[in-house]
C-alpha cells in the first residue's frame, strides 16, 4: 500500500510533537531515511507543505494575509492580530501584509478559506448595489 504525503506529514508531526531540539534532528534524519528506503524522496516538498498545515492546525496557528490601501502601523497590526485570534480562538496569528491602493481604505483579511472584506471599496460596492436596487 502506498503512503500519501499527508500520511507522512501526519506521522512526522506525531513524531516531532513536544520533542526537544536534539531529538528533532534525529527524528528528521530517520524520517528522511525512511523516505529514501521507500524511494519517495520526491514527495518531500508536498510532505513539508502538509506538515506545516497540520502543524498550524494542531497548534492553532493562523496564517493571515492582510491587504490594505495604506501602510498599517504597529498598533493596528496588533489589533488585527488580536481580532483574528479572538474570533478563531487561535493561539498565534502570523500576518503577511500587502498593499492594494484600489481598496481606498479599510482592510481585507484572508486566512484559511475565509475572506473578511472590510475595505472601503467593498463598502462602496455594497452602497452602489443598494442604490441600483
Amino acid at each position: 500500500m502506498k503512503i500519501t504525503a499527508k500520511q507522512y506529514a501526519r506521522y512526522l508531526y506525531q513524531a516531532t510533537n513536544n520533542k526537544e531540539k536534539e531529538q528533532l534532528k534525529e527524528i528528521i534524519k530517520n524520517f528522511v531515511k525512511i523516505l529514501k528506503d521507500n524511494n519517495e524522496l520526491t514527495k518531500i516538498n508536498q510532505i513539508v507543505e502538509q506538515f506545516i498545515e497540520i502543524w498550524h492546525f494542531e497548534k492553532k496557528i493562523i496564517l493571515a494575509e492582510i491587504v490594505s490601501a495604506k501602510k498599517i502601523g504597529m498598533n493596528t497590526e496588533k489589533l488585527l492580530k488580536n481580532y483574528i485570534k479572538e474570533i478563531n480562538k487561535a493561539s498565534e496569528v502570523i500576518i503577511e501584509k500587502k498593499i492594494d491602493k484600489s481598496l481606498l481604505g479599510g482592510v481585507v483579511i484572508k486566512y484559511n478559506d475565509k475572506i473578511l472584506d472590510g475595505s472601503l471599496k467593498n463598502s462602496l460596492k455594497e452602497l452602489k448595489n443598494k442604490l441600483i436596487n
Binding site: S68, A69, K70, K71, I72, G73, N75, T76, L79, L80, Y83, K101, L104, G105, G106, V107, G118, L120, L124, L127, K128, L131, I132
Partner: protein
C-alpha cells in the same frame, strides 16, 4: 202462263201484267240481268278482296296508329303535366332547401364572424398587455440604468475624494471601527 195465273188469282194476274209491262217498258232481260249480277258479284268480290279489304286493313292500322298516337300524346301530356308538377314540387323543395342552406350559411358566417371578433379582441388584448409589459420593463431598465449611472458617478466622485483625503490615521480609525462591528 200469265193468263193462267190470272185466271186462278185475278190479283196476281194484274201484278203479273204490271210486271210484264214494266219489263217491256224498261227492256229488262233476265238472262242479261243474271249475267250482270254474276259479273257484279265477281267484280264485287274481286274488289272486296283485292282493294277494299287491304285498304280497310290499312285504314284500320292507320286508325289504330292514330288512336295509339293520340293515346301516347295524351299519356305524354299527362306525363308532362305530372313532370311539371313534380318539377314545381321539386323547385319548391329545392327553394326551401336553398333557403335553409342560406340561413345555415348565414348563421355559420355570423358565428365565424363572432368567433373571429372574439379572437381578434383577445389578440389585441394580448398585444396590448405584451406592449404594456415591454414598456414597463423598458421603463424599469431605463430607471435601473439611470440609477446605475448616477451611482457610478457618485461613487467615482467619492472614490476620488477618499483617495486624496483619507490619511493613515483615518484609515487606522476606520480599521478599528470595522473590527468593532
Amino acid at each position: 202462263m200469265a193468263l193462267r195465273t190470272a185466271s186462278v188469282n185475278p190479283g196476281a194476274g194484274v201484278r203479273l201484267l204490271i210486271m210484264e209491262n214494266l219489263i217491256e217498258t224498261f227492256h229488262i232481260d233476265f238472262k242479261l240481268l243474271i249475267a250482270q249480277s254474276i259479273n257484279f258479284i265477281i267484280v264485287f268480290f274481286a274488289l272486296y278482296f283485292l282493294i277494299f279489304k287491304p285498304l280497310s286493313n290499312v285504314m284500320k292500322d292507320r286508325s289504330a296508329k292514330i288512336a295509339k298516337s293520340l293515346d301516347d300524346a295524351e299519356k305524354i301530356e299527362k306525363e308532362l303535366i305530372k313532370t311539371e308538377e313534380e318539377y314545381k314540387k321539386s323547385l319548391v323543395k329545392v327553394k326551401k332547401e336553398a333557403e335553409l342552406i342560406l340561413a345555415k350559411a348565414d348563421s355559420q358566417a355570423e358565428e365565424n364572424k363572432q368567433a373571429m371578433l372574439i379572437k381578434a379582441r383577445e389578440e389585441i388584448g394580448q398585444i396590448i398587455n405584451l406592449e404594456k409589459n415591454k414598456m414597463l420593463a423598458e421603463k424599469a431598465q431605463t430607471l435601473k440604468d439611470i440609477k446605475k449611472e448616477t451611482a457610478d458617478l457618485v461613487l467615482s466622485i467619492v472614490e476620488k475624494v477618499l483617495e486624496n483625503k483619507l490619511n493613515n490615521k483615518e484609515d487606522a480609525d476606520l480599521i478599528k471601527k470595522i473590527m468593532k462591528k
